[in-house]
Every structure is written in C-alpha cells, then in structure tokens.
Symmetry: C2
C-alpha cells in the first residue's frame, strides 16, 4: 500500500496478490527490475528489498522469471480490462475510442514503473509465458481495431489504414510510460484528455 | 559494416567512430546493452563480443559508462540532425512536419536496437553526460515545436496545445523503436508514410 506509484483512487497496487508477503515481493521485484533491469537483478536483491530472506522468496516464487511473468500477466490483464470496459461502455465509436485512450493512458501514467517493466522485459520471459502475453496483447489490439472499424463502418471515422492506425494509437499510449514523470507539469488525467483529442483527430472523427 | 541493423543506403553504422577497433567495440556494446541491459553487461562481455581482450577495450574507453555516453551522444546527434534538416528544408509547415516525421521514424525503425539503448538507458548515464543528452533532447523538441508553431501562425494547422502535441508527435515516433520488427510486414519507409499522415491529422493540417 506504500509504493510511490499509487497516485489516485485506483485499488492498492497488486492488491490482487496474496498473501501479503507475495505482494511485497512483487512490489520489490517491479522496483528492482525498473531500476537495474531484469538480467542485473537477483532473487537475493528482490528478497532484500522486501526485507525478507532468499529462502522466504522461494516459498512464493520458484524463479525470478516467475516473478516477471506474474507482473507481466497482471499488467496485461489490467490493460486489456480497461480497454474492454471502454469498448463495451456504450455511446458512439468516438466516445468509446476516447474513453479507451483516456483510461489506457491513465494506466500507463499512474503505473509507469510497472508498465516499463512489462513493456521492456518481454524478451526475458520463457517461451510459454511469452506466448501467453503475446496473446493478451493481440486481444488488446483487437479491441481497439474493433472500435475504429465500427467508427469507419458507421461513417463516423475516416481511416485509410485501420491496422496501422490501431498500432499507432496503442503505441502512442504505451509510450506514456517511458516519458511520464509524476513530478511533471501534466497529471495522468490531463495527458489522457490531450491524447483522446489527438486520437480522435487521427481517425478524423466527425464532431 | 555487418550489423543486422544496416538496412538501406544510410552510411555504415557508427562509421563516424574511428579507429576500427573503437567502432567494433561500440557495435558490440549496443548489442550487449540491448540484449541484457546496461547494468547486466560487463566490459569483459563487450570486449568478448568484439573479439578483443578487456585490456584492448580500455585503450579506447575508460569505462562502460563512456561507451553508453558515446552511443547516446551519436544517436541523439543523428536524431537532431534529421529533424533540423527537415525543418530547414523549405516548403509549407505541413511539408516540413511530414518530412521530419518520415525521417525521424525511419531512423528509429532502421536503427531500432541502437534507439532502444539510447531511449531506455538514459538513467544509467553519469550526471554531466545526462545533462548533455537532455539538452540535445530539448533541442529536438524545440525543432518540432517550431514547425508546429509556424503552421499554426500561418493558419495551416489548428492545434490547441502546441507543447503537448509536440510531445505526442515525438513520443509516437520514438516508440517505433520498441515495436518495429525488421521481419514484420511494414518497411521503415511505409511506417514513415503512415505516421506522417497521422501527424498531419493530429495538427488538423489543411490539405
């Protein structure tokens, strides 16, 4: 409940991870991976950051890769959840696309340390875990592509290249995790509003 | 002259680095940092990849940080150069903005391994080197902001938030380095064309 990333009314980071010792280890792993990179971090480092012994870590996670997989899985599940909630939320395609961008951007701004680990350490996952995460990313992509496609068919949007525009929209939102600074001049909500407007321009939404 | 990244008529990667041994070490450092992260890479790893001894490395670079700084400096100089060339290239603001996006995207696609190291390992630079790189980034930002501002003043663009839109345009282009795959379905030129069109939409360019 104490990481620097917790910035708003969102539930406590990793509240879904129990017991408490497993949650603390996950928070410590995110911080260590973000600071030094996955390959430069040892399970001893992670246990130390969590104030625990290496032996205590192994009760909850067999390997360092299992920690990365857990972080990546929860991060991707959450990202897919916010996109699906926006897509199924009702309203015009423009309203749903704007809401998808706002909530996806907010997630990447508020949880930027987690998002960086999730985005930049994909190659460190084992083959099976990587395939599972790639499938979640494919589903996130499909949600956004569906909203844009619906807008085009309804005559609301003018988009010559729907897959390419989908890729660009998601990329724009994901990169917020790289540059966002909690001490910077824009709040996560402000970035979300700016980006929702820019994305509606990208699809030439009739307003 | 042999790295996998060399994809087109661009000059050989790191051709500006001499003598040849220093260039080979730099290419090896880029590959090692990209694969394992800066902190997990040793100067011994880098020398080994270049087929040289650690002692031979120290003739050219005193520290690992000096290698990262050299990579980051050349990468940022090159990025600023392509943006300035486009900005000063003549034509309308829309033509110059489109060309800036095309060439900036091409650079991040063709040199994606280098660009990832340059973008993700900024925090590993020493204080003085980091300040120098931040200044180069500030200048790249200013180039794009200037083109957008000129378009707004000329009545070519409609942009409510010029600094925010500048940030988003650069972020969109930079993130190409994260997702671009040389085996993927789009060439660097095709991504550049797509993105130039999307950015002209973001600024509501009159066409």
């Amino acid at each position: 409940m104490s990481t620097a990333e917790e910035t708003d009314g969102d539930s406590a980071p990793w509240a879904e991870v129990t017991p408490e010792a497993a949650r603390r280890l996950l928070v410590a792993a995110v911080d260590a991976f973000a600071e030094r990179g996955y390959h430069a971090t040892t399970t001893r480092d992670i246990a130390g950051r969590a104030g625990m012994s290496p032996a205590a870590l192994y009760i909850h996670y067999r390997t360092k890769e299992e920690l990365l997989h857990r972080i990546s899985r929860i991060g991707h599940d959450r990202a897919l959840f916010v996109l699906e909630a926006a897509a199924d939320g009702g309203g015009t395609a423009a309203e749903r696309l704007a809401e998808a961008v706002r909530s996806f951007v907010r997630w990447h701004a508020e949880r930027h340390t987690t998002a960086r680990v999730v985005q930049y350490e994909l190659d460190a996952l084992g083959e099976e875990h990587r395939a599972e995460i790639v499938e979640l990313r494919r589903r996130s992509d499909a949600v956004v592509r569906r909203i844009i496609g619906e807008g085009v068919r309804a005559g609301e949007f003018d988009v010559p290249d729907v897959p390419g525009t989908t890729l660009a929209v998601l990329s724009l939102c994901i990169d917020v995790a790289r540059w966002f600074n909690a001490q910077g001049s824009r709040t996560p909500d402000e970035v979300g509003e700016l980006y929702a407007d820019l994305v509606l321009r990208m699809v030439a939404a009739k307003r």
